[in-house]
């Protein structure tokens, strides 16, 4: 053993020296090209979305936003991103595991994950590993209240969504000269739904709303049957429904409203579900009427038109919505930061994101910029109504492209 070991390390021949020098020369000669390649390489972005499980419909919709992003980035003069897709399976633990896997496979920035619970888990991983994470959609306030240095969110937090929703609701009530006196509040009991429910107590009184909440009913977002929930809400005698839901449950709630022969004055949604393409397609004419008070897009912005055109080309017949807009903007933030940082170094990328100032964007408001907590606090929300399988903006007045249809047309008269 010893002899063998000695012989293998004992002497260096002239041939070996020559080969070594040759190799070193080749390496030295090509290294400038290597540097150039490194600079030219695309930023590796780990995209985490719930593309299966009970949030699959929304996750797939967000994926449509991912799929059309590179073409638009190119048109805007940004470098294309190398997207590394991962499915969170609508599960918090899996979101965490997939984030870790993406980082170990070389992701230089993370993006996602639609859901507050999953985004919270990914944020913890990103912060621990020191990899920038740009949240596309997630509204639970604590995510950007932890003092994280690598976590950024271009999406309004729950209290902002609620505040804007109440302002827009009052505008609609004033325009129609009619308002419900009582509402039944139905909400999912996940991180987002609970944050919204907790926010209502503090924010609603400040807006002097014309209605009171007759009953608050929470339910599992993965529920397979919501007949009891709707029966309970109907029994309160409430005039309208205030909802914070997801996609599948929004469809289930509508079905139950029809089956239980209850057409409230209005359905006022303050979350996803009711404006999603799958909701419109599944329910047809029964999907008309609900109002969604949500982060939306400014149809007059140049990039909004580009995004709309790209979506129409890639997914004909799909209405542009929050999922596409904020997923695209999260990737836009990544591309912009990479362009300014000129490096894939995580700290340099995070520093560049912190100083983001994108005014050529899609969402309403002055643009994309982050405060010291990594939160874009300048976003504005809109009120959207489903109309003949399309979505129209009915409030605020300055962003509206249609007048609200009020009250909700009874389901049995459609």
């Amino acid at each position: 053993m010893n002899r063998k070991s000695n012989s293998s390390t004992a002497r260096v021949s002239r041939r070996a020296v020559a080969a070594g020098l040759g190799a070193a020369g080749i390496l030295a000669g090509t290294s400038p090209f290597n540097i150039l390649r490194a600079q030219g390489a695309a930023l590796k972005v780990g995209s985490l979305l719930p593309r299966s499980g009970f949030q699959a419909g929304i996750g797939q919709d967000c994926q449509r936003g991912v799929d059309i992003t590179n073409g638009i980035l190119k048109e805007l003069g940004y470098r294309e991103l190398q997207i590394m897709n991962a499915d969170t399976e609508s599960n918090v633990d899996n979101a965490r595991a997939q984030a870790e896997k993406l980082i170990s496979e070389g992701a230089q920035l993370l993006m996602g994950a639609f859901d507050s619970g999953q985004s919270t888990a990914i944020a913890q991983v990103a912060e621990q590993k020191g990899i920038p994470y740009v949240i596309n959609i997630a509204a639970a306030p604590p995510i950007t209240e932890q003092g994280y240095k690598f976590v950024f969110r271009n999406f309004p937090i729950a209290p902002v969504i609620l505040g804007d929703a109440f302002v827009n609701q009052k505008e609609i009530f004033a325009a129609t000269g009619s308002a419900p006196k009582t509402v039944a509040f139905l909400h999912v009991n996940d991180t987002f739904g609970t944050a919204m429910k907790n926010g209502i107590g503090g924010i609603m009184p400040k807006h002097n709303m014309p209605f009171t909440i007759a009953e608050t009913i929470s339910y599992d977002p993965a529920a397979r049957d919501l007949s009891v929930e709707v029966a309970k809400a109907k029994a309160t005698g409430a005039e309208a429904l205030l909802v914070v839901s997801r996609l599948n449950d929004a469809i289930l709630l509508t079905r139950e409203l029809v089956k239980q022969r209850w057409s409230p004055m209005a359905i006022l949604s303050m979350g996803p579900g009711w404006y999603e393409d799958q909701y419109l397609k599944t329910l047809g004419k029964l999907s008309d009427g609900p109002l969604s008070f949500v982060p939306w897009y400014d149809p007059n912005k140049k990039v909004a038109k580009m995004l709309e055109a790209a979506l129409a080309k890639a997914s004909p017949g799909v209405n542009m919505n929050t999922n596409h807009v904020y997923t695209f903007e999260a990737l836009l933030v990544a591309a912009d930061a990479y362009k300014r940082a000129g490096s894939t170094d995580p700290k340099a990328l995070a520093d560049a994101i912190r100083t983001t100032n994108i005014i050529d964007n899609v969402s309403p408001g002055p643009g994309i910029m982050f405060n010291e907590k990594g939160q874009n606090d300048k976003l504005k929300n809109s009120a959207i109504q489903n109309r003949d399988g399309k979505l129209v903006t009915v409030a605020p007045k300055e962003a509206a492209n249609a007048k609200v249809e009020w009250p909700l047309k009874p389901y049995d008269k459609r």
Partner: protein
Amino acid sequence: MPAEIYLNVAVGGILTGLVYGLMALGLSVIFGVVRVVNFAHGEMMTIAMYLAILAFSALKLDPLVMMVPIAAVLFALGYAMQAALINPFINRPEHSQFILLVAVAIIMVNVLLIIFGPDARNVMTSYSFDSFQVGPLIVDATKVYAGAAAIAVAAVLFAFFRFTYVGQAIRACADNYTGALVVGLNVKQLYALTFGIGAACVGAAGAMIVLIVDVTPALGPAYTLLAFIIVITGGLGSMPGALLGGILIGLTEAMAGLLFSPSAKSMFAFGLLVIVLLFRPQGIMGKRVA
């Protein structure tokens, strides 16, 4: 709350429970005879649901009409599974059977995912949004049809086991394995037949549940768990127990949602299970094992 709301919710819970019961009946039949716990039960129901969706989307065939053909397909699947896969494991330790069926379940979920993708799919029949109004009582039409079909299928199954020669032979296998061998019954074939019948039950239940619930490949495990809760509550191996367990769980979930919080529905279903396990470990209609 107005009094009629309790009645509405209770009737809805009972009708849903009947379909749950039919699904669990398959699990109970298989365990009662073959003594194998089918951990792929919910996944087999998901396959039936997708078959119903395919028949509806391609040929516009109502799931209730397709109930018998789908049950026949699932019967063939169950028969083949027992004959080719499970029979060799009959005399092996229980953990081997457990792992085998868990593996089968995982394979089924992933094959469905590959074929159909993760999106939720549903069937929209002409009566999908219908309801019957009887005085203050409003009952979901699809649940009424599904509940009635569940009762009919269960009645046919009871009659089969009670009055047919094959049904009696299967019961003989369940009662005394050695005795059945001694009198010359082809036990392995009867086991395969039983597994097929259990699978046919779950196939019929799948064709009905697709009217009430949207299907995704990931739906299976939740229904496997639900079937377990039902058969343990009703009595593992007891056919009437499975139906009764289904009704009890459906009713418990519905009333818990109304009286307490809809979020706590499952908690009450599991609570019922714990109470049954504490005071009647063999289940409400199960036989006490000496």
